[in-house]
Each structure stands twice: as structure tokens, then as C-alpha cells.
């Protein structure tokens, strides 16, 4: 044995036995003795075994502690993630089995090195790999490595539908959908409480109103109360009612009659600057209406000893009337609620307003903000359109705009509006279809169902008014 001398010398040394020079020859003979050689051989073998055992233990500990990250899963959603032994450096596993996957709804495929399945329960869950590494005898027990798998709950199951407090002085119905004739057209309108409000039992903040006015005019109003404002539900309700009441007032009715002359002049091109006069009329009349609504909100806030901000609400309204020359549409808007008119063939879209969006999500402006009336852009908040005919007039709150149009750039695109119509017609995940026909007896029910479409992250109140 080559290093027998060294081995024994070290052993003796560590036990305080030093071989002096004059005993060296004796020591050499001692090492040559058969019996001692046998002991040495065994000693060496045991040492090697001991080291090998330690390496195995160390390797097992390494595997058990090795952080393994696998992507999070979601209940009910198909899951596929690599679970690759080679990638983890587990080439020295001589046997393994994986336990605890079935109860999670998952399977492991050694062929594809993949975990797949549809998770059935949520939480910070574990499954385990039971393994043996190279160097372990066959009869050795398996070692256990736990792997963390985070399974998210299915968000759909987390939403609750709690009733709002009917005893609240400013309570309003959670969901309203109506179908009604309006002028020579029809109005289908729905306003529904968003899931974000339903899950905590709070109120619908959106609102709407409509009215046939005495002189052939019709008005449709949509308002979206700011969820962060205490009495926004009242703010939006007051704003809607305020617009309708303004135009029902005899003074307003009389002033709207003036418009008939202006339109005649414009159509026959008899007057000078007819376009300018029309624009001025719209600005004056609708501007007054908007300002009166603002004032009403202000006095309500004062009387109730709340701040005007507590009533924060966006506001859009459209007036329309049929003339021989076509339809006149007048509009006003503050906030992030679009108004769009589609021509008869649905080949052109006219946006009646621009929308107030901020740098960050959710940022917008409200009718309760005094600064909008002083702003130089106030005059651009009005819309006027003379159109021979139209197929649809759409008005919506951001609860519809956000999921369906996402960004402003999509609003002028007729293709997007055609998509939107197709969506209403049933081309959607839930196959909810609205047959936009005036003779459809289920019209309101169909729209109400459509309004419940699923869109992750978009759970605000939803309001949609369609004149067709």
C-alpha cells in the first residue's frame, strides 16, 4: 500500500505517538506484517466509504435546500410549466416519485419535463419530489424535497354581490335597463353597478336620464360619479336631472325654438355666417345648462354641508331633433365618457366630444370643477352636427369605454365601432347578444345580460345609451 506509511504516521501523530528515528526500521516491519496490512486495508476502505457517505448526505441536503421556482398557477386556468430535472442539475437521481400533484389538479410528465393540468385549489401549496441519489443503496429510503407552488384563486369567484343599503338617503337602484321610444327613434339604455362596488355592497355611482322635450327635441344624459367622492351617486343623479329640468323650463323651450330658424337658414344658405350662429347658439344654450347644473350641485353641497368635491361626477348630454333636412345633434361633455354618432351605413363615425383623460389611470375632470368653466377649452366641449340620418348614437361611461375601446386613439376608428356593434351582436366570450331591433321584446333583458361581460381589471359601473 503506497501511502500506508503516511496514513499510519498521521493516525499515530494525531494520537500523540511520534515514531523516533531509531524506531523507523521497526515501524517499516510493523507495516509489512500481514495482520496489520489487513487492518490498514480495511481502514482505508472504511475511510473511503465514510467520505462517499458524506458526499451523498451533502448532495441530498443540497437538493432538499435548492430553491426551485416554478411559475404561479391560477385555479381553473390551464397550467403548463417546465419542471426539468436536467435544468436543476439532477442528473444523479437514481429513483424518484412525485407526490401531491393530483390533489392540486396537476400532473408531471417525465417525457416532456412538464407540469400540466387545471389547478383545483388556491393557496401557497406544496408538492414533493421523493428521490434517491447515486451512491445510495437500493434499499435506502427516499428523501423528500418540497416544492412551493403558488396557486391564485380564480378572480371570478372572489367577487361578491352584496346589496347596497336601501335606507341610505341617496340610495339608487343597483341595475337599471330601459327601452323606450324617444322622438322618432328608440332609446335602449342600461346603467349597472360595477363589481368593484357590488363586492363591498356600495352604490352605483353612474346615472342617466332622458326626455322628449315639448318642441320636438329629445335629450339623453349620462353621468359617472367618482367612486372616491362620498356622495358621487347623488352628484350624478342631480347632474342628470338638472340637465333634463333645464331644457324643460319654458325659457329654454322658447330659446330652443330659435334654433329652428337657424337650421333653416343654414340649410337653405340664406343667412350670413349661419355656421357661426349655430355654434354660438349651441355654446350659449348648452353652456348655460352645464353651468346651471354646476350651480345646482354647488347649492346642494352647501345645503347638505358637504363639499362640492363630494359630488364629483362627469357629465355628457346630447340633444337631437329631426328636421326636413336631417337630424340636428347638439352635445356637451366633461369627463371620460364618449359620445359617438354612426352614419346610416355604419361606415363613418363622428365623435361629438373629446374626453378628459389624465396622465395616470382614472384621472379625469368633473362637472363639479369650477375651473372647467374658466378654462379656454370650455368652448370646445360642445358639439354640433347636422346629419341627414344616423344609424346609432352611442353614449357611454368609462366602465364601457375602458374595456371596449381602451385608448382614445381607437375612438375615431369606424372599424372599432363596427367591432363594438359585432360585440353587441354576440361576438363576445359569453356569447351575449343584443338584437337591436325595435320589435325585439327581450331587448332590455338582452342588453342587461350583455352589460355583465367579463373584462379583467374593468369592474367600474357601466352605463350605455343607444339611440337607434
Amino acid at each position: 500500500m503506497a501511502n500506508a506509511n503516511q496514513l499510519v504516521t498521521d493516525l499515530f501523530k494525531s494520537n500523540g505517538i511520534i515514531i523516533p528515528e531509531h524506531r523507523m526500521k521497526l515501524f517499516d516491519r510493523f507495516l509489512q506484517e500481514e495482520q496489520n496490512l489487513a487492518i490498514l486495508h480495511q481502514l482505508k476502505k472504511n475511510q473511503d466509504q465514510l467520505m462517499a457517505n458524506w458526499k451523498t448526505e451533502d448532495r441530498i441536503a443540497e437538493i432538499v435546500q435548492q430553491p426551485i421556482r416554478i411559475p404561479n398557477a391560477t385555479v381553473g386556468k390551464h397550467y403548463a410549466a417546465p419542471f426539468d430535472f436536467e435544468q436543476y442539475g439532477w442528473n444523479d437521481l437514481i429513483a424518484f416519485r412525485i407526490e401531491g400533484l393530483e390533489t392540486l389538479g396537476l400532473n408531471y410528465s417525465a417525457e416532456n419535463n412538464q407540469l400540466t393540468g387545471v389547478p383545483t385549489q388556491s393557496g401557497d401549496l406544496k408538492f414533493s419530489v421523493h428521490f434517491k441519489v447515486e451512491g445510495q443503496p437500493e434499499e435506502a429510503p427516499f428523501h423528500q424535497k418540497d416544492v412551493l407552488l403558488i396557486i391564485n384563486p380564480d378572480p371570478k369567484t372572489l367577487w361578491q354581490n352584496l346589496e347596497s343599503d336601501k335606507n341610505d338617503p341617496y340610495w339608487k337602484e343597483d341595475d337599471v335597463t330601459l327601452f323606450s321610444p324617444i322622438g322618432d327613434r328608440h332609446l335602449l339604455v342600461s346603467s349597472k353597478r360595477g363589481r368593484s362596488h357590488a363586492t363591498v355592497g356600495s352604490f352605483r355611482e353612474d346615472d342617466f336620464a332622458f326626455k322628449e322635450l315639448p318642441n320636438g327635441w329629445n335629450v339623453v344624459v349620462v353621468a359617472d360619479g367618482a367612486g372616491s367622492a362620498k356622495l358621487a351617486r347623488k352628484g350624478s343623479a342631480l347632474a342628470c336631472a338638472g340637465v333634463v329640468n333645464y331644457f324643460l323650463d319654458p325659457a329654454a323651450v322658447e330659446s330652443m325654438a330659435e334654433f329652428d330658424n337657424l337650421v333653416q337658414q343654414h340649410a337653405s344658405q340664406t343667412g350670413a355666417d349661419t355656421q357661426k350662429n349655430l355654434n354660438r347658439f349651441v355654446y350659449n344654450t348648452l353652456g348655460k345648462a352645464a353651468f346651471q347644473v354646476h350651480k345646482q350641485l354647488e347649492s346642494f353641497a352647501k345645503a347638505q354641508e358637504v363639499t362640492l368635491k363630494d359630488l364629483s361626477s362627469t357629465l355628457i348630454f346630447t340633444l337631437f331633433k329631426k328636421y326636413d333636412v336631417g337630424y340636428a345633434l347638439l352635445s356637451f361633455g366633461v369627463g371620460d365618457c364618449p359620445i359617438a354618432v354612426l352614419n346610416k351605413d355604419v361606415t363613418e363615425v363622428t365623435l361629438m366630444n373629446w374626453i378628459d383623460v389624465g396622465e395616470f389611470g382614472g384621472g379625469t375632470r368633473f362637472i363639479t370643477m369650477p375651473e372647467i368653466f374658466q378654462n379656454e377649452k370650455f368652448a370646445t366641449r360642445f358639439g354640433f352636427k347636422l346629419i341627414d340620418n344616423f344609424s346609432y348614437l352611442f353614449m357611454m361611461s368609462d366602465g364601457i369605454y375602458d374595456p371596449k375601446f381602451v385608448v382614445e386613439a381607437n375612438l375615431p376608428s369606424i372599424a372599432k365601432w363596427q367591432e363594438f356593434l359585432a360585440d353587441l351582436n354576440g361576438q363576445n366570450e359569453g356569447k351575449a347578444a343584443v338584437d337591436l331591433s325595435t320589435t325585439n321584446p327581450d331587448l332590455a333583458a338582452q342588453l342587461s345580460k350583455w352589460m355583465d361581460f367579463w373584462s379583467p381589471g374593468n369592474h367600474d359601473d357601466r352605463s350605455l345609451a343607444i339611440v337607434f
Binding site: 421556482r69 411559475p71 404561479n72 391560477t74 388556491s122 393557496g123 401557497d124 403558488i150 391564485n152 384563486p153 378572480p155 371570478k156 372572489l158 367577487w159 363589481r195 368593484s196 363586492t199 363591498v200 355611482e205 367618482a226 367612486g227 372616491s228 367622492a229 358621487a232 368635491k309 364629483s312 383623460v357 389624465g358 396622465e359 395616470f360 389611470g361 382614472g362 384621472g363 379625469t364 375602458d402 381602451v406 385608448v407 382614445e408 386613439a409 379583467p456 381589471g457 369592474h459 367600474d460
Partner: protein, 197 residues
């Protein structure tokens, strides 16, 4: 921050994430990023949606580079928080939570200057234990809370309150785009948290 407090912070974040995962609004909309600061500031988790988020091991030893951290959170906001344009939908304003158990050892004013230029829905700072300087944190944000001792129980309470605050404010910020301006609009903090006025 070492030993029991850092372990408690780790646990606190875990518990917070688990509880936010039960909030449907949060799980569909919230993104989370973690920045640690000791001798240097490091973004240990980039802005990640809550559903995909996985906690990493966090360590904090040595000094307290608060200024670096404020500078880093500012650049992270610039790079990771999307602003609204006509073609792209913007993110909600970020909520920032700062927790420290020491006094800054670097030039924190420069970092603060950067941070002030960024818009947040709100920022809450927490002085954990007696070695932290809540008066200094008060210069960063109006909303400062303090823990008498940085033990695991107090830290756990802080994170429970943070989760509740995220739940409330994410809905608020979203609904109206209005800022949550003071702590009066957040859920009431537990007894372990002292509001620094």
C-alpha cells in the same frame, strides 16, 4: 436591519401578498416591486403583477442608503409605470411604502429631490423601532407611522395595515382618479402603529 426584524419583514410581505391575492380588484390590477436599501439600494423584484409575484430572499446589512433608494424608486417609476397617451392606457398612480429601522447614512436630500418630482397616489413611511428618525421621514411624506419596537408582531401588524390600505386605495384611485391625500382616507391603523403628526 438584520435578524428578527428582517425575518419579520419577509414574513410580513408574504402575508401581505397572500391576503392581496384574496382581493379580486388587487389580483386583477395590482403590480408590486420591492427595493431594498442597506449599503446600496437594489430593486430585488421588478414591477410584477400580483398573480405572478414570488417573494425573494431579502437581506439588509451595513449602512442605510435611503437617498439611493429614493433615487432608485424614482427611476423605477419612470421606467415601469406607464403613462396614458392616445395610443396606450396608463397605469394608476403608484403607492409607495418605505420602511426603515435606521437613519440614512448617505446624502438623502438629493434622492428626496428626485422622488418629489414623481407623482404617487400616496407615500407612507414607517419608522421601525427607536433607532429610526420619524421626523426625517416626515420630510419625505405627510404620512408617517412608527413602531415602538421592530419586533415581529409589530412588523406583522404594519404589513396587515398596508394590505388593507392597498385594498382601499386601489379602488379609490381607480374609481375617480382622485388622490388619497391623507391617512384619514386609509383604514385606521392598529394600536401598534403610532401616527406621527
Amino acid at each position: 436591519m438584520t435578524g428578527e426584524p428582517i425575518e419579520a419583514v419577509k414574513n410580513g410581505v408574504q402575508v401581505m401578498i397572500s391576503s392581496l391575492r384574496q382581493n379580486p380588484q388587487a389580483i386583477e390590477t395590482a403590480f408590486i416591486s420591492i427595493i431594498t436599501f442597506d449599503s446600496e439600494a437594489k430593486q430585488v423584484v421588478p414591477l410584477t403583477d400580483l398573480a405572478s409575484f414570488q417573494m425573494v430572499d431579502i437581506r439588509a446589512t451595513g449602512t442605510t442608503s435611503l437617498g439611493e433608494a429614493l433615487k432608485l424608486v424614482s427611476t423605477c417609476i419612470d421606467n415601469e409605470v406607464t403613462k396614458t397617451t392616445a395610443e396606450q392606457k396608463g397605469d394608476w398612480k403608484p403607492l409607495v411604502f418605505i420602511m426603515t429601522d435606521g437613519i440614512p447614512t448617505d446624502d438623502w436630500q438629493i434622492g428626496l429631490e428626485e422622488f418629489r418630482k414623481r407623482k404617487t397616489a400616496f407615500t407612507v413611511a414607517c419608522a421601525a423601532g427607536s433607532a429610526a428618525d420619524s421626523a426625517l421621514l416626515k420630510l419625505i411624506t405627510e404620512n408617517v407611522v412608527s413602531l415602538d419596537t421592530a419586533d415581529s408582531q409589530s412588523i406583522a401588524k404594519f404589513f396587515t395595515w398596508v394590505s388593507a390600505s392597498i385594498g382601499v386605495s386601489s379602488t379609490k384611485v381607480e374609481d375617480g382618479g382622485q388622490e388619497v391625500t391623507g391617512m384619514g382616507e386609509l383604514p385606521p391603523p392598529p394600536a401598534e402603529l403610532n401616527i406621527v403628526t
